[in-house]
């Protein structure tokens, strides 16, 4: 006779099924508990991490653009002119548009983190349902949660300033013709006797 004690194992089957349900519920609780740390502050921190990463790049791009614009304005004798004012407004717009784009991308990055966390959580739940093993699910949840806490890589922001005015266009290209630019000298190549360490001082 089966272990059910004369009932064909029906009682044992019912007990097994109820125990499995309890394990799945327990496993769900453990997964939720281990993923509890992925809350709004966590996702906001992902957005801020991106902003902290991207804003210095924007500042660097802006500084170069501003220097080149000032140089181009001076070279054209337009530093104190309405054209300078127009370019100031344009570079201000581009800078702030860049700042806003970075803030928006920060939110996108936090959304990407949400998706990644949810996918991991779903995988663990599928694993829990397949095995009914609450302990393994909890352990997996902890491992995945720890992995997700690590920083994900961000890509460089690319050029956020555009040549929307003639002077800004020249400013964007100004560095190309800068005779102080290292050129191939930066790689130890180029004209004999000229290296990246040597500069023509005006």
């Amino acid at each position: 006779m089966c272990s059910g004690g004369g009932d064909g194992g029906a009682a044992q089957a019912r007990a097994d099924e109820q125990a499995r349900q309890a394990r799945v519920r327990e496993g769900m609780d453990k997964i939720n508990k281990n993923f509890y740390g992925f809350d709004e502050p966590f996702y906001r921190s992902r957005a801020k991490a991106y902003e902290d990463f991207a804003n210095p790049q924007l500042e660097e791009q802006y500084n170069k653009q501003e220097q080149n614009l000032a140089y181009n304005l001076a070279r054209s004798g337009l530093t104190s002119s309405s054209e300078a004012a127009r370019n100031a407004g344009e570079i201000q717009r581009q800078y702030n548009t860049g700042r806003a784009a970075i803030a928006a991308e920060g939110i996108n990055q936090s959304n990407a983190a949400r998706r990644a966390v949810e996918e991991n959580r779903a995988d663990l739940i599928a694993q829990l349902n397949a095995t009914g093993d609450a302990r393994a699910a909890a352990s997996g949840a902890l491992n995945r949660a720890n992995m997700l806490q690590q920083q994900m890589g961000f890509s460089p922001i690319g050029n956020l300033f555009q040549a929307t005015t003639g002077l800004l266009g020249n400013a964007a290209q100004a560095g190309y013709y800068d005779r102080n630019a290292p050129g191939l000298g930066a790689f130890g190549l180029g004209q004999p006797g000229r290296t990246s360490a040597s500069r023509v001082v005006n």
């Binding site: 009932d7 769900m28 614009l69 004012a85 700042r99 928006a104």
Partner: protein, 228 residues
């Protein structure tokens, strides 16, 4: 003899009926228990569905969309810098008219950047809303999936329980069948005037009947008399 046969048949019928009732009662109990379990799980599922529906109706979604757009706009606005950032070195000596023009241009640049950011937020906010819905639905589907599996597995186990319940009255039914068979035999014997308690029939006339056959009284008589 006839009275004994009648009593045995009646007792057999009662025992069989009792066995059937036991089985029916056990099956009914198993079905009711399963119905209660299914009802509880269904109630959980209904609650989850209503919760999900409550969060995704048009009114709620419109409010959430407004919140998402507002959050995006606020993040963009907070990131932007209102003060002029481009201060060209020689502009300090520029005439007032140029400085004023510069302020106007910078303010216009700020306004345009803010406007563009708000328009972008209006588009991207809907994506945020959809992502929120997708995550919400994913979680509800996971929970509903669990409940659905619980219901299915529980229902599958009921089959075993019903089989076991159907066997619950087997003992009483077997006793009943035995009594009914014995009663029938005694009844036929009585009809033929045989009294086993009086030992009037010689052992050689006894016939072993196949237990699986329900004997016709005539055939029974023919078999009894065939050897004479």
């Amino acid at each position: 003899m006839a009275a004994v046969a009648l009593a045995m048949t009646a007792a057999g019928t009662y025992a069989q009926s009792r066995g059937a009732r036991q089985a029916e009662k056990a099956m009914s109990a198993a079905r009711n228990a399963e119905a209660a379990r299914q009802g509880k799980l269904r109630s959980e599922a209904d609650q989850l569905f209503n919760e999900s529906l409550g969060k995704q109706g048009a009114d709620v979604q419109k409010k959430r969309l407004a919140t998402e757009v507002e959050e995006r706009s606020a993040a963009s606005a907070a990131a932007q810098v209102a003060q002029p950032i481009a201060e060209f070195k020689t502009q300090g000596d520029a005439p007032k008219i140029v400085k004023d023009e510069s302020d106007v241009r910078v303010a216009a640049g700020n306004a345009r950047a803010l406007s563009d950011a708000n328009l972008a937020a209006n588009v991207q906010g809907f994506g945020d809303l959809q992502l929120g819905n997708a995550l919400l639905n994913s979680r509800y589907l996971q929970d509903q999936g669990n409940l659905s599996r619980f219901m299915s597995d529980s229902s599958n186990t009921l089959g075993w329980e019903l089989e076991a319940a159907a066997r619950r009255g087997d003992k009483a039914k077997a006793i009943g069948a035995g009594l009914q068979t014995a009663g029938s035999l005694f009844g036929m014997g009585a009809a033929m005037g045989v009294n086993p308690f009086a030992s009037t029939v010689a052992p050689s006339t006894l016939v072993t009947l196949p237990s699986s056959r329900l004997m016709d009284p005539n055939e029974y008589y023919r078999l009894l008399t065939a050897g004479r």
